[in-house]
């Protein structure tokens, strides 16, 4: 068994490149989905039903579909509409669009629970437009949604593993290729699990820091 781990460790370069791909795919997804999620959330809160309905339908549909099915749809289904992407682009598009729906729901929830009095008070103090948004609304929205978005980041990290099925060389793909070349399945996947765990611990620590900052800010 310890020999297996030594064999797997000898190929640390494959794990590192897999981990690197997992990390940047997840980070890019988080950025893209956060921006798009805010826009979709704004559409979901729009006064007109014609705007609201497509946004809400999109979010509800994504929340019912397993990620792998959606990734298949992008990778195998879009070429039918003569939209062809390679596995990397398909993977990133699938992750970003899928998680946009979840982040939109988080932001919408944070917005709905934002207290109206604070905005009114801000207005009464002469805040309007961008300063109102930047100094009163956005900081509160940010601190209210960070714990949930941190949690969502862990789901993004875990969903990125599905992309091995469409041959994106991320961490689980790397572990799988080490195991199939040298037949060290146990060691190989345990190492991958520990790396995922490490990343999750870092995400959780970062969320804690933001929460601490929020508490200090509140006084």
């Amino acid at each position: 068994m310890s020999r297996d781990f030594l064999i797997a460790f000898a190929h640390y370069d494959q794990y590192l490149s897999g981990l690197w791909n997992t990390l940047w795919l997840s980070a890019a997804t988080l950025v893209l989905a956060s921006v798009a999620g805010c826009i979709v959330a704004a559409l979901m809160l729009a006064p007109h039903k014609i705007v609201r309905l497509p946004a809400t339908t999109f979010v509800d549909a994504m929340r019912c579909v397993p990620f792998l099915l959606f990734a298949y749809l992008i990778y195998y289904g879009l070429p039918e509409l003569s939209l062809r992407f390679d596995s990397w682009a398909s993977g990133l598009i699938a992750l970003a669009v899928y998680h946009t729906a979840y982040i939109a729901e988080i932001v919408r929830g944070a917005w709905t629970s934002l207290s109206r009095e604070q905005i009114e008070a801000g207005r009464a103090f002469g805040f309007a437009g961008l300063p109102l948004l930047g100094r009163i609304i956005l900081p509160q929205l940010f601190f209210a949604s960070v714990p949930l978005i941190g949690n969502q980041s862990i789901y993004i990290l875990k969903d990125s593993a599905f992309l091995m099925i469409i041959t994106v060389p991320e961490l689980t793909f790397a572990a799988s290729s080490v195991q199939s070349t040298y037949f060290v399945p146990f060691a190989s996947f345990v190492i991958a699990m520990l790396l995922y765990w490490l990343v999750t611990l870092v995400i959780e620590a970062m969320v804690k820091r933001v929460e601490l900052a929020a508490e200090i800010r509140r006084g």
Binding site: M1, D4, A61, C64, V65, P66, F67, L68, L69, Y72, L73, Y76, G77, E80, I154, L157, K158, D159, S160, A161, F162, M164, I165, L171, T172, A175, S176, Q179, P185, F186, S188, F189, V190, A192, M193, L194, Y196, W197, V199, T200, L201
Partner: protein
């Protein structure tokens, strides 16, 4: 639409494997939560580490570890037992956290009152704690069940032909992937709706029975 039976077979596989993991995983999660709640020395730390690692592990990585890794520790599992075990390990960690949150929030005065009446710890749990804790945990448990269904396509990597795999095979055979994918989406929606509706029904029955407004 001659592919519909194949798709439905996949749906039955998804539903039965998920159901098996749920039926075993909810009580297992409770057992793990009790170990942590009672602060059983050593075991409690082991459970905490288990939950922390499993919560961070993608279902697909876990499925690969269990299916390909188990022979190296002397256990040979078929694809279906490995599939159920994967989902069971995955969901038990999340269920443990849900049950534990409810147990931690349980009012101390009730525990003290029950003990003052001379109830044994087992009796306190059965008569006082559990009947209240399962009601507060129900929504979160059902939410975890729907997440479990959405994680189940990971089992495709160990050769399980579930709903997602069935849809992709039909798509590959007919060169028209959109119709089977949309049909599979509708079936997933129905599966999720069954769980959520059952939860609403149970909650309504609870409210009626205990006259909670």
């Amino acid at each position: 639409m001659s592919d519909l039976p194949f798709l439905l077979q996949g749906a039955v596989v998804t539903a039965s494997v998920s159901l098996a993991a749920i039926v075993l995983g909810v009580p297992l999660g409770l057992a793990l939560a009790i170990i942590r709640w009672q602060r059983v020395p050593l075991l409690s730390q082991v459970v905490a580490a288990y939950v922390s690692v499993i919560r961070a592990t993608p279902a697909i990585t876990l499925a690969l570890l269990i299916f390909f890794g188990s022979p190296s520790i002397g256990i040979v599992l078929g694809a279906t037992p490995a599939a159920v075990l994967t989902l069971l390990i995955n969901t038990s960690a999340f269920n443990c956290e849900i049950w534990r949150a409810a147990l931690i929030d349980f009012p101390r005065d009730q525990l003290e009152a029950a003990r003052a009446y001379g109830m044994t710890p087992v009796l306190v749990f059965r008569r006082v704690v559990f009947p209240q804790v399962w009601r507060t945990s129900l929504p979160a448990l059902v939410n975890e069940m729907t997440l479990l269904i959405k994680a189940s396509p990971a089992l495709a990597v160990i050769g399980i032909v579930d709903l997602t795999r069935a849809a992709s095979r039909i798509g590959a055979a007919t060169y028209k992937p959109l119709p089977p994918f949309l049909a599979a989406t509708v079936i997933y929606m129905l599966l999720v709706i069954i769980f959520v509706t059952t939860q609403r029904l149970v909650e309504r029955r609870i409210r009626q029975r205990f006259n909670l407004a």
